[in-house]
């Protein structure tokens, strides 16, 4: 006679984990079941808040939020760049499940493309305007993503992590040592984005970081809309199916290599855009801007926020970049906390991994995965 081993249904295993999950789902449900207009109003409020944030008239009322040791608007710009990067890396790692350890390398490609084509320090002296070079930077970054991905994405798993790591290191070493990329001396007088106030003063100046922040914020919104369009389509389903079970995806007709390459290229394009924005604001780009640690920070931010979830990536990227800056200028027993920022960062990650492995704002799917290991053992291979 047949004996069936049916895995217990979620209702049957009312453990603490399940109840926790219900609590979290309640919040997500309230959002999803709220009337459309409520969601739009809340979303609009959040957006307005972030546009208002860099104004002193506004942030002086926000208590401990402004950074004591650094110009708050400058910090906001840095944070916004990290958010953009986290959104891009989340496509690669969170949706398609490809471990990219060298994502910052693409950021460097974007920044250096702008530097080389616009700066008077460049050997080729094209001196093109910033705006013209941005699409070129994005395109070149995508091409570098495709070039890196074509040989490696056919392989599985660990190889990709190694190759991407090597790629970022290669870019960094090229930046340090090649004459074309100017090493430590770097490129200066990189032009700013165009635009003037009514009185003729440039909108994107040297001192005020706010316009740059607003520009990045606007682009984040556009990029997020684009990424959402992708994830809510055949493309996103293909990405997630690859992450879930690549063999099964192929056998269900998903051209996995093509879609992995697209994930890689889309992620790279976003990093290229971020690099171009960074160069356009900084005015100066040299080899010190592209340490390997940055790749790790962004990856950690994506995982910290909850990979596979766009909101999670935004929150993760924002919080991580902000926290690092927040430590600046705080002294405790005579030591500046900023010096120990990565120690704290590491501690937070370890604590997270123990208590909340699925990230702050997990993808609904990931949350289930981490709570339901037991079922996997029974049903899976």
């Amino acid at each position: 006679m047949t004996t069936t081993v049916n895995p217990p249904t979620p209702e049957q295993q009312e453990g603490i984990g399940v109840r926790l999950r219900h609590g979290r789902e309640a919040v997500a449900n309230r959002w999803h079941h709220a009337p459309r207009w409520v969601r739009w109003v809340l979303l609009a409020a959040v957006i307005v808040f972030f546009y208002a944030l860099p104004n002193k008239e506004f942030y002086q009322y926000l208590g401990p939020i402004p950074t004591p040791g650094a110009n708050f608007t400058q910090v906001l710009f840095t944070v916004s760049i990290y958010v953009l990067l986290a959104v891009g890396l989340n496509i690669v790692v969170g949706f398609a499940g490809l471990l990219d350890l060298g994502y910052f390398g693409f950021f460097a490609v974007g920044a250096y493309t702008v530097a080389v084509l616009t700066s008077p320090s460049s050997n080729i002296k094209t001196l093109w305007p910033w705006l013209l070079v941005v699409p070129i930077a994005i395109a070149l970054t995508m091409v570098s993503g495709v070039m890196l991905g074509t040989p490696t994405l056919r392989l599985r798993g660990d190889y990709l992590a190694l190759v991407t790591l090597g790629f970022a290191e290669m870019i960094r070493i090229a930046a340090v040592s090649s004459d074309f990329l100017k090493g430590q001396r770097g490129f200066n007088q990189i032009p700013h984005p165009p635009g003037k106030y009514a009185d003729g003063k440039p909108f994107f100046g040297v001192l005020d970081a706010r316009p740059y922040y607003w520009l990045v914020l606007t682009l984040i919104i556009l990029v997020v809309i684009g990424v959402r369009n992708l994830t809510h389509s055949r493309v996103g389903r293909a990405w997630i199916s690859i992450r879930e079970d690549e063999d099964a995806a192929q056998l269900m007709g998903v051209p996995t290599f093509k879609f992995k390459l697209w994930a890689f290229a889309s992620g790279a394009a976003i990093a290229g855009l971020a690099g171009a924005l960074f160069a356009g604001k900084q005015n100066f780009v040299n080899s010190q801007n592209f340490e390997l640690l940055n790749s790790i920070i962004i990856l950690a931010a994506v995982i910290f926020g909850g990979s596979g979830n766009i909101v999670g990536a935004i929150v993760g990227g924002g919080l991580v970049a902000y926290m690092i800056e927040r430590f600046r200028g705080i002294e405790l027993f005579g030591v500046e906390l900023y010096e120990y920022r990565f120690l704290f960062f590491g501690l937070v990650l370890v604590v997270m991994m123990i208590f909340r492995p699925q990230g702050l704002i997990p993808n609904r799917r990931r949350a289930a995965e981490f709570k339901d290991r037991r079922k996997e053992v029974i049903v899976g291979e």
Partner: protein, 281 residues
Amino acid sequence: MSDTEQTPAVPAQAAAPAVETVDKREPLLEVDHVTLRFGGVVALNDVDFTLYKGEILGLIGPNGAGKTTCFNAMTGIYQPTEGQIRFRGEKISGKKRHQITRMGMARTFQNIRLFPEMTALENVQVGADAHHKTSVISALLRLPRHWKEEREGREKAERLLEFVGIRPRMHEFARNLSYGEQRRLEIARALATDPVLLCLDEPAAGFNPAEKEELLQLIRQIRDTGVTVLLIEHDMRLVMGVTDRIVVLEFGKKIAEGLPAEVRDNPKVIAAYLGVPDDAA
């Protein structure tokens, strides 16, 4: 052979011909003297059989006989060491797995392999996407093709979930479905790719008799929509009840082929199955 021509609840599949009579014997899949070795293990040894359009062929044999390996060779997971496999007259060797699927071959897995963190609906939509063309540009800009394919895929997925009987659970994650529901979902996902040939690897494993009976009905209905079915199954009664013909493997070799009644009385088959309980899994 029971040729009940009931109106199918399942959508017309691609190239759904009126059910071909098996007599016409139009070959759909030819496994041509295939040998497959894993190092020293000969998983398939000169296996040779043909699957005809419109039939339900049973592939049976004791544990480790090479049944799953045969599926894997057909769907492009393994390349045969010798011999070749032709599907709809075309050699499948050298074709990519997703191309074989698009040619009209779909399968389920002995160890369920759904996309656990996608909903039931999304799982089936992935199958439906096999014939879709939307890529990054159309999805990013929400071009008309995206909307059209999205609507089609969604409708098809819901119809198929209805067909296998788990439509009310369509927004559940696959991993939260019961075992039986997961097995049904795998069938729906495979059907969504518009197969001409559906390969089921022990779809009734772990089912109780009532569930097995339902599954039998489902398989007949699928065949009646014009899909040819290749069925691996341990349960001899189930196989006898639903298949038109049976191929028996043992230790990678074909030891018998024929009508269910012939196979059942074949002394070699009886010997092969002797002492092997029918639900050994």
